[in-house]
C-alpha cells in the first residue's frame, strides 16, 4: 500500500494530475470504481476552489483506520482569503463568487466525514474522510 500523497496545487495542470492520482490512490486503497470517482470529484471540487480563491494550496491524501474498517482522508489547505461565514458556505446554492458556489455541501455528500476550518485573511483547511 502506497504512502501518503502530498501535492502542491497551483495550476489547472496540477489539479488534473492530483485528480488522476487520487483516483488511483483510492482504488489501490480498496475503493470500487464509483466511490473512487466520487473521491476524485471531491478532490477536483476542492482543488478548483484553491485555484479560484487562493491561487495555490496544499493537498494531502492518506490512509486512515478505525476499529470498523479502513478508509482515506484528504486534507486541502490554503493561505487564501478564508471563508467569512462557514455555516453559510455549507448551505446549498450559496456562492461568494457569484458563480456556482464553493461546492462544499456537494463535497460533504461525496465523502463520509467533512470538517471545514477557516479564518478570514489567513486561509482555509478542509479535512474529509471516506470509509470503505
Amino acid at each position: 500500500m502506497s504512502a501518503e500523497l502530498r501535492r502542491k496545487i497551483s495550476s489547472e495542470m496540477d489539479l488534473r494530475r492530483v485528480v488522476l492520482e487520487s483516483t488511483r490512490y483510492s482504488q489501490e486503497a480498496g475503493f470500487d470504481e464509483a466511490p473512487s470517482r466520487m473521491i476524485a470529484t471531491a478532490v477536483s471540487e476542492l482543488g478548483r476552489n484553491i485555484l479560484k480563491y487562493a491561487g495555490s494550496g496544499e493537498f494531502l491524501l492518506r490512509h486512515v483506520k478505525r476499529p470498523s474498517g479502513r478508509g482515506i482522508e484528504m486534507q486541502v489547505s490554503d493561505h487564501g482569503p478564508g471563508i467569512n461565514d462557514t455555516e453559510q458556505a455549507m448551505q446549498d446554492n450559496f456562492s461568494s463568487g457569484g458563480t456556482l458556489g464553493l461546492g462544499l455541501p456537494g463535497v460533504k455528500r461525496l465523502m463520509d466525514e467533512f470538517t471545514l476550518e477557516s479564518s478570514p485573511g489567513k486561509g482555509t483547511r478542509i479535512t474529509a474522510r471516506k470509509w470503505i
Binding site: E12, T23, P35, M38, A40, T41, G106, R109
Partner: protein, 165 residues
C-alpha cells in the same frame, strides 16, 4: 487560430445529419472554450439537427465542468439543434447526483445507437431554416425546444461568459 495551437481538440464527425463529438480528453477551461467554438461552428456550418456528446471517455466531472458542458448544450439548443449526452460513466453519474447538480431537461442515452434512436424519434427541424444560424422561432419544433430548455439555458449561458471576465 494560433490562440488554440497547443490545446487538445475534441474529435468531431458528422453522421446522418448529426454532429457526433467524442470527448476523450480532460475538460479543462481551454479545452472547453475551444470545443465550444468548434462545436457551435460545426453545427452552424452543417445545419445539423442534433448533436451527440459522447462523454464515455470522461472519468471525473466536477460541478464547474458539468456546468460548462450544460451551457454548451444550452447554446446548441438556442441554435435550434438538439443535444444528447451519451455514455456517462457510473462514477461520474454518482458524483454528479451526490453533488445535486441540475440535470433537468438533459437528454441522455446509454450508447451511440440509443442516442441516434432518440434523435430519430424527435421530429426533424428544417435544415435550410437552420443554415442561417438564427434560432428556430418560427417552427413549432424550435419553439417547443426553446421553451423546454429556456429556464436552464439563459442563466447558464450568462454564467459561462461571466466566469471569463
Amino acid at each position: 487560430m494560433p490562440l488554440f495551437d497547443n490545446i487538445p481538440r475534441v474529435a468531431m464527425q458528422v453522421s446522418r445529419d448529426v454532429v457526433v463529438a467524442s470527448i476523450q480528453v480532460d475538460l479543462d477551461d481551454e479545452v472547453l472554450n475551444r470545443f465550444r467554438e468548434d462545436l457551435l461552428g460545426r453545427v452552424h456550418e452543417t445545419g445539423s439537427r442534433a448533436v451527440i456528446l459522447d462523454v464515455s471517455g470522461v472519468d471525473t466531472m466536477d460541478c464547474d465542468e458539468f456546468a460548462a458542458l450544460r451551457s454548451i448544450i444550452s447554446m446548441i439548443t438556442i441554435m435550434g439543434s438538439q443535444s444528447v449526452l451519451v455514455g456517462l460513466q457510473p462514477g461520474v453519474v454518482s458524483a454528479l447526483i451526490e453533488m445535486d447538480v441540475d440535470v433537468a431537461g438533459l437528454q441522455t442515452a446509454i450508447d451511440l445507437d440509443a442516442a441516434f434512436e432518440l434523435i430519430q424519434m424527435t421530429p426533424a427541424v428544417e435544415p435550410e431554416a437552420e443554415a442561417d444560424g438564427l434560432p428556430e422561432v418560427d417552427s413549432d419544433v424550435g419553439q417547443v425546444e426553446i421553451a423546454e430548455a429556456g429556464e436552464a439555458a439563459i442563466p447558464d449561458a450568462g454564467r459561462l461568459f461571466g466566469d471569463e471576465s
